[in-house]
């Protein structure tokens, strides 16, 4: 995928690979010089420690590279702006110097979207983190670098929630949520980030500010805000967003079930989603996933299990509960499994446990309409399992819509002899993507595209990819914004 290069030992002569260096030589130095006039030392860095820290995100294969002292790429500098004027300055300088620029949030993306593959400047927004709550309009104005947990806990303190609780809540940022078109664990009620985003401020090349203010709804041509949702830093640098918020729910109901067949659980939720009930959380686990996630719950271990959280106004939640109880085909298992899920839902420790042992481990989240749901699940699991070296492939369904479902597949394996971690990893991904597309699904539900999925984007969008490329070309003629990402 990339011409990986090995960090030299002891020499400390870390240089980006020759290809990147040739492309940027001279220009980058000039841009760094220009930026250093406005940025203090501690907010513009070419130190090795900083360059190494921004050479990757949380792309699982890059963890293996890290342990082998290999790098996919290295930026030439990192800059930490504190306001939109400084962001404008960075975009202007990079555009003028034709130097690649990579926006960076919390670095918890899992598809390599921030890997600075062509060298250049990484712009980390995390020092831009103000927020303001507008009680009358139920909106929060948040700068792009604001930490997810910080935002949600500040809102909770004032009696609100945004309802966007991704597994990466603790490390991720608001800008990262918008950039990857993220969605959270409570999305079945509160929606994805694209539904929460009501207004956005972006700095686009060659350094212009675009301010699309929040309105309850607007009928003013194509929705430009959406151009930046899921753009993963390829169209500009988001500096601020306005998001809808909700009063904190007054009631929360926790329910769990086991079902004899996966189809029963899926059909139950499909029927619930056809009513006006909107449970905040619904998660259906297959047999393997209940073994992994509920190993200390004997009643659930190895079975098909569903956890449900209903929250909101007391009267409405009561009615929603009645609907769920009426529709669910399965055995009621109480609230304890839901409490267990709430307690463990942010755990990502398996990566720390498996990767150092040489186990290749990743997740693939996709979405599909109800009519193809069963087929897609079967096809993807069956496509991954026979690959030599795969230890397991399993899934849970984590987000639901009246039209369909998101399946979140997990696989792990050890590369067979004569195969390195990356070839094994790519083989699994390739088989899985093919199965998803053949089964009528969409290849990404909420992790985005990044550098890992870019090769399949054409199949997914058809002629749409060409249109996307033309839009990008018009906005960013010199292709400085995260070049290579999304295949743009």
């Amino acid at each position: 995928m990339f011409p990986l290069f090995r960090c030299p030992k002891r020499g400390d002569v870390l240089v980006p690979n020759e290809m990147m260096k040739k492309k940027n030589i001279g220009k980058v130095d000039k841009v760094i010089d220009e930026l250093s006039e406005n940025f203090e030392d501690n907010r513009l860095s070419t130190k090795k420690t900083d360059l190494l820290s921004y050479s990757h995100d949380y792309w699982p294969i890059s963890l293996h590279w890290m342990l082998e002292d290999k790098l996919p790429a290295l930026p030439d500098a990192v800059v930490w702006p504190e306001n939109k004027e400084e962001v404008k300055d960075v975009v202007r300088c990079c555009y003028k110097g034709k130097v690649p620029l990579y926006p960076y949030g919390g670095g918890s993306g899992v598809l390599g979207a921030t890997v600075p593959e062509k060298g250049g400047i990484v712009i980390d927004l995390k020092r831009m983190r103000s927020l303001e709550v507008n009680d009358d309009d139920l909106l929060v104005e948040a700068e792009a670098g604001l930490n997810g947990y910080y935002l949600e806990s500040r809102l909770n303190e004032e009696g609100y929630t945004m309802g966007n609780i991704p597994q990466s809540l603790y490390p991720s940022t608001v800008g990262g949520w918008v950039g990857t078109k993220a969605t959270g664990q409570f999305s079945t009620k509160y929606g994805g980030i694209e539904e929460m985003l009501k207004g956005i401020e972006v700095i686009v090349p060659p350094g212009k500010r675009l301010n699309l203010k929040p309105h309850p709804r607007t009928s003013t041509g194509p929705d430009l805000r959406k151009l930046f949702v899921g753009a993963e830093g390829t169209m500009g640098v988001m500096t601020k967003g306005w998001f809808k918020i909700w009063p904190c729910p007054e009631n929360r109901i926790k329910l769990s079930y086991t079902s004899k067949r996966l189809e029963d659980a899926v059909e139950s939720v499909r029927n619930i989603m056809r009513t006006e009930a909107e449970p905040a959380v619904v998660r259906i686990y297959d047999e393997m996933e209940t073994k992994r996630h509920f190993y200390d719950y004997e009643e659930i271990y190895g079975k098909i299990a569903t956890v449900i959280i209903i929250e909101g106004d007391e009267k409405i939640t009561k009615a929603e509960r009645e609907i769920v109880e009426e529709e669910f085909i399965g055995e009621y298992k109480g609230k304890e499994p839901v409490d267990h899920w709430l307690k463990t839902r942010f755990s990502v420790k398996e990566a720390s446990e498996f990767v150092p042992m040489g186990v290749v481990f990743d997740t693939i989240e996709v979405a599909v309409n109800w009519s193809n749901a069963g087929e897609l699940y079967e096809n993807v699991v069956e496509a991954i399992k026979p690959i030599k070296g795969v230890l397991f492939a399993s899934a849970h369904a984590s987000h639901f819509y009246p039209q369909g479902i998101c399946f979140y597949f997990t696989f792990a394996g050890t590369p067979p002899r004569k195969k390195d971690a990356e070839s094994f990893y790519q083989q699994v991904w390739s088989e899985a993507m093919k199965a998803v597309i053949d089964s009528g699904g969409t290849m990404s539900h909420h992790h985005g595209v990044g550098r890992q999925r870019k090769d399949w984007l054409g199949q997914e969008l058809g002629g749409g990819l060409e249109i996307l490329k033309k839009i990008k070309e018009k906005i960013d003629k010199r292709n400085i914004m995260n070049p290579g990402n999304l295949g743009l």
């Binding site: 420690t49 820290s53 921004y54 670095g107 995390k126 990466s168 990502v348 186990v359 050890t414």
Partner: protein, 386 residues
């Protein structure tokens, strides 16, 4: 009840021995020896970033908790040289222990990286700012150089009150009030005129050899004092005496050691709320909450006083460092330290300008950062209510 890894065993049972064996070998090898903590931490996407004051305020991947571990791992692997520039991110740690509260492995990044810091000192890679600190500690046994003891308190009694370097040097008022509180709860407090540093600044900066010497000094002094109870105003000192000294085989278990909050929470004190003119807020020191594990003790004690006290958003195990914790950050990056103080103060000031804390360093830090706030040691408040 199934075990944590039973699912993996079950899955592997379907494979041929040829497939199974290498995987099981790797797995078992990993489970027995376990990947080093520094590697495990490096493989994490920073699931404690939100709790780390450095990471929130500095906003850099390099100084994020997992980012620091990755730098440490690269130094250990010789990808990066062990030098002052590369060590700098590792020292951007307040040792507040907040990361530990959110880590599934209970790691403290500060502890994980201690061997790297220690190796640097052993190889005489020492920042100038640390050199001065080490010299003061070596020469005078305190972080302030030679201290002239101005207090005229008893040198014998039943409770040894260890004031800590900061109050001893700069705040006789709190010392007076603490002695007064101790007397009012029927103790017979006394001080050590030649009290020395607990050693934690050396420990934080990686000078473990010096730390061990300071431990020996203080253990000897405490034993010689004959006290069976020690009370201190400084939660870092209490943490050192109670938690770190035993790790270095210097267990003074015959002596009961408490931070002033721990000491007072045990007492059945009847508070006399004479007047309630102010609305207070409070700031719990990291070492009390995370080091000594007293997650709610300070808040509970304040509640018992009957005072009007507002709870900040970040409290208990989510408390947020004052910016001066851990010795190294205020010495190597004053600007960052000051930004963290402002972050914490802005949160506290939204509730009240009257702040109660129970740590000499936090008190001094807030007072130096903002003239508008009035910062009280908890002993001053308690004394006024007895």
């Amino acid at each position: 009840m199934p075990g944590k890894w039973d699912w993996l065993k079950e899955e592997l049972s379907g494979f041929s021995m040829l497939t199974k064996l290498p995987t099981m070998t790797k797995f078992l090898k990993g489970k027995i020896s376990g990947p080093e903590d520094i590697i495990k931490c490096s493989m994490c996407p920073n699931m404690c970033r939100h709790a780390c004051p450095i990471s929130i305020v500095d906003g850099k991947e390099t100084t994020s908790p997992a980012g620091k571990s990755r730098i440490g791992m690269m130094i250990e692997n010789d990808v990066l040289s062990l030098n002052e520039e590369n060590l700098l991110p590792i020292h951007m740690c307040l040792s507040c222990g907040c990361c530990e509260n959110w880590c599934p492995f209970d790691f403290s990044v500060s502890d994980i990286l201690r061997p790297v810091k220690k190796r640097a000192v052993e190889k005489t890679i020492v920042y100038e700012e640390f050199g001065e600190l080490f010299d003061d500690l070596k020469r005078n046994g305190t972080i302030y150089g030679e201290i002239e003891d101005q207090n005229n308190f008893a040198h014998e009694g039943d409770v040894l009150y260890l004031r800590g370097c900061e109050y001893r040097e700069n705040n006789s008022q709190v010392i007076d009030k603490t002695m007064s509180v101790l007397k009012k709860v029927d103790a017979d407090p006394f001080i050590l005129p030649d009290e020395e540093c607990c050693g934690i600044p050396a420990y934080n900066a990686g000078n473990i050899g010096l730390f061990e010497k300071l431990i020996e000094n203080m253990v000897e002094k405490i034993r010689e004092s004959g006290a069976d109870k020690v009370v201190t105003s400084c939660p870092s000192c209490a943490y050192a005496y109670k938690k770190l000294y035993p790790e270095f085989d210097q267990n003074i278990e015959e002596v009961e050691i408490s931070h002033i909050v721990e000491f007072l929470e045990e007492k059945k004190i009847k508070f006399n709320l004479k007047r309630d003119p102010y609305e207070f807020t409070f700031h719990e020191p990291c070492k009390l909450v995370n080091g000594l594990g007293k997650k709610d003790s300070m808040r509970d004690l304040l509640e018992r006083t009957g005072l009007s006290v507002k709870t900040p958003r970040r409290h208990g195990e989510e408390t947020f460092c004052c910016g001066s914790g851990g010795t190294t950050v205020p010495r190597l990056n004053k600007k960052l330290s000051s930004e963290i103080v402002q972050e914490r103060l802005s949160e506290l000031k939204r509730l009240s300008d009257e702040i109660i804390t129970s740590c000499p360093t936090c008190k001094k830090t807030f007072e130096n950062a903002d003239e508008e706030v009035k910062v009280h040691d908890i002993a001053e408040i308690v004394d006024s209510l007895l």
